[in-house]
Every structure is written in C-alpha cells, then in structure tokens.
C-alpha cells in the first residue's frame, strides 16, 4: 500500500520532470500563445504547440513504441504521437495529403494570365540555396553539426511552404524536423514584419508605385490543362519532385475540372482539417528536449530568417531585372511574393504598394509569383531529394 503510494508519487510529473522537458513544455505553450494571441499560423502552430507539451509530459508515453510478444500479440500499446509520427509523417503521407488540399484551394488564374511571374517564383528560391551554403559553412567550420542533408533541409525553410518543408525534413533530417517546421511556420507568420523593410530598402518610391496592366481573363480550359502540363513536365524533368507536385496538381485538377466538386470540397475541408490536426501533433512530437534544446536549433532559427530575407530580396531584384528587358512594367514589390507563404506574402506586397499609391491594388498581380513560389520550392525540394538522397 505505501509501496503503491510511492509508485504513484514516482509516476507524477513533479517527481520525474527533467529540466529539458520543463523548458520544452514552456516552448510548446509559447507556440500556443503565439498561435492564439498573435495569430501565428494557428492552424499548424496550435497543434504543434500542444503536441510539444504532450510529448514532454514525463511518463505519459505519447511517443512510446508498442511492445509485442514473440507470438506477435501486443502486450503494451504505443502512444498516440508514436502512431501519428510513424504512420503519417515518417511515411510522408500527411504532408502529401495537405499538399493535395492546398492544390485544391489554389487558383492559378493570376499566374496563367501573366506566366512571366513564374520567374519571380524561381528567383525567390535563391533564399533556399543561399541558406544551404550558410548551413554548410556552419557545418564545415565545425561550429554546428550539420551534414549536407541537414543543410538542405534547413534551406527549405526559405521556401516558405510548410508541407514542403516537413516533407523534405522528414526525408533528409528527421531529427531537425521539429525546429524546421517551427521555423518555417513562424517565419511565414512573420512575413508582414520580415518583408516590408527589405522591400522598402531595395525599391524606390517610383518603383513601388508602378501600376501594372490589368490581368487578362483566363479560361476554364487553361486552368484545367495547366496542372496536367505541370505533372508532365515534372515527369520528364524532375521525378523526385513528383510526389509533392503530383499531389498538388491532382488537388488543383479536382478543383478546376468541375466534375468532382464533392471530392474537391472534401480535399479542401474535412480531409485537410483532419490531416492538419494530426500533422501538427506529429510534428510537435519532434519537439523533444534532446532534438530541440541544442545549438543546432539556434542555427536553424537564424538561418531560416536569413533564408526568408534573401528569398524576398532575390524576388524583388529579379523583378527589377525583368523591368530592364521587358516592355510591360512589373512592380518589383510583387517579386517579394515569390517566396510563397500564400497568401500572406501577396497581401504584404499589396499593402506596401498601397502605401506608395492609394489606388494601386497589387493583390491579384502578386498572387501570380505567390503560387509560382509554391511550384518553385517544390522543384527545389525535388532537386535536393535527388542530389542529397540519391
């Protein structure tokens, strides 16, 4: 009886809690706070934060592996996050389902009306690869323990696309997944703070006031054929990007084709919501003190910020470069939207544009490079998976 009481006391968190777990619970609560109070990508950061709290409760066993006896019968069930992480994240299933849903929510119309903006989505990926160099330098210098695979996974934060970052990290650097996902979503939420100073520094008031010609209407047929064209190009040039872009285009085709509205509706609502809840809990399971409380995480957070900033700058500078060669003027602010972070970055471009010219609505123009950035970072992800993993 006293024995049992002692056992019960030994089971309590008060007795078992280690400092690292305590700190990580606080980190989890901080994410919850940022999600609720500051509106930081709450759909992901709230489940991630709660997932981080739960996985760090000592003795709760959220990441416990199931135990089987010799005959294959389960003697001890695993924890919820164990099943979620190994079933949905390690396998890549959840990010791909999310990407399908995002595809079903994406309107490529503005991009199709002005395909040149794809170049802006390409340029903004420079943030990814510049960051890879930064991480590699930190690794080569011995300051931090980054391999090439780690560096590539960290760089993808600059892609400003959550599911892509999680998909790449789960394949190249599962240990860094927690930090990378948190950095990716946090910086996406911070886009309205990170981008405007860079945008103002790199452009003159005249450039920011450039009015762009109205977008031509895009036919339904173009919208239907476009995702198929992307899939075919991916199949021909970069099969390693096919999982991401294939599911993305499948989602988009369901949206645009007009004959499977009930599937498209489910992909955009019930399915993506269910997967988002589990994806968040699963990512949160990687916010354990061993994986997160180290110098590398600081490196990830720092490099991620660099990646965003360089990507933003590269998009703007590409737009200015294009203005040298093109007859139709492009407002360089929309180049910043090339990092993706849909639709936040496009809104920021619109807002900064309105500061210079109250009548200049850039939102639709910025949506082009914005969705192009999603394709761009998926292509970058494919290159990395092929280069590093192959």
């Amino acid at each position: 009886m006293e024995n049992k009481l002692l056992n019960l006391y030994h089971d309590t968190g008060i007795y078992q809690l280690e400092l690292g777990q305590f700190v990580m619970i606080c980190v989890g609560l901080l994410l919850v706070y940022l999600a609720i109070k500051k509106g930081f990508e709450p759909l992901l950061l709230l489940p991630i934060g709660i997932g981080a709290v739960l996985v760090n409760i000592p003795g709760a066993g959220f990441m416990a592996a199931p135990v089987y006896d010799a005959a294959g019968h389960m003697t001890s069930p695993g924890g919820l996050q164990y099943y979620i992480y190994h079933g949905g994240i390690e396998t890549g299933l959840f990010p791909l389902m999310i990407f399908m849903g995002v595809g079903a929510m994406t309107d490529f119309g503005p991009m199709l009306a002005n395909p040149k903006t794809l170049l802006l989505g390409a340029a903004a990926q420079f943030g990814i690869f510049a960051t890879v160099i930064g991480a590699v330098v930190l690794g080569a210098s011995g300051l931090m323990d980054f391999t090439l695979a780690d560096a590539a996974a960290i760089g993808i934060i600059g892609g400003a696309d959550g599911p892509t970052a999680i998909f790449v990290a789960s394949r190249l650097a599962p240990d860094l997944l927690g930090g990378i996902a948190v950095a990716a979503y946090s910086y996406m939420a911070l886009v309205p703070l990170i981008q405007p100073p860079i945008m103002r520094a790199l452009t003159s008031k005249e450039e920011r006031s450039i009015k762009m010609v109205q977008l031509r209407p895009v036919t339904k047929k173009e919208k239907i054929i476009f995702p198929i064209v992307v899939v075919i190009l991916v199949a021909m040039f970069l099969p390693s990007a096919a999982p991401l872009l294939g599911m993305f285009c499948f989602g988009n085709l369901m949206r645009e084709c007009g004959v499977v509205d009930r599937l498209s509706d489910t992909a955009q609502n019930a399915l993506i919501n269910i997967v988002t809840i589990f994806l968040g809990l699963g990512v949160g399971s990687k916010l354990s003190s061993e994986d997160f409380l180290n110098l590398e995480t600081l490196g990830i957070l720092g490099l991620g910020l660099v990646a965003f900033s360089i990507g933003t700058a590269a998009g703007i500078l590409m737009a200015k470069l294009m203005n040298r060669f093109s007859s139709e003027a492009i407002n360089p602010l929309i180049g910043a939207a090339g990092v993706s972070a849909v639709p936040m970055a496009a809104r920021v471009a619109n807002k900064v544009g309105l500061e210079s010219n109250k009548q200049n609505f850039l939102l639709m123009h910025a949506m082009g490079p914005n969705v192009a950035g999603v394709i761009g970072s998926a292509v970058a992800a494919g290159v990395m998976l092929s280069y590093v993993g192959g």
Binding site: D107, L119, L148
Partner: protein, 83 residues
C-alpha cells in the same frame, strides 16, 4: 570538411539552375498551352472564378432552393422602395 562546402556549392548551382530551367520551360509550355487553347476555343471565357467549389454541396443546395425565394423578396423590396 571542404567536401561538404563543395557539395553545398554544387547543390546551389544545380538547384538554382534547375529551378530556373524548370520554370522557364513552364513559362513557355504555359504560354503555348494558352495560345493553343485560345486559338482552338476562342470565345469560352471564365466569367467568374468558380466560387462554388469552396461551398459544400449541402450549402449550395440550400442556396439553390432559396435563391428564387430571396430574389423575389429582394425584387419586391426594390419595387416598393421605388414606389
């Protein structure tokens, strides 16, 4: 250690090269597709973004049911306002 740095630079060059290559090809492919489609089917324009896809079928059903009723009510409203 130097091998790591070299690999990183290789990844950057290949990566940015490929991203640009892919998206430039996509620009041409998209442009060609659009010209071809608009040449083959000149008039079919999307009048409005397909707003309906974001609504659940159920809600749309409600919509359909009520539109007639509400349209009547609104017309009525306007007619009364004018008179």
């Amino acid at each position: 250690m130097n091998g790591l740095l070299e690999d990183g630079i290789g990844l950057m060059i290949l990566g940015m090269g490929f991203v640009f290559l892919f998206l430039v090809v996509l620009i041409f492919a998209t442009g060609y597709m659009s010209r071809l489609l608009n040449h083959l089917f000149p008039e079919v324009l999307v009048q409005k973004a397909p707003v309906t896809t974001t609504r659940s079928p159920a809600a749309t059903g409600v919509d359909a049911q009520m539109t007639a009723v509400i349209t009547a009510a609104v017309h009525q409203h306007r007619a009364n306002k004018k008179s």
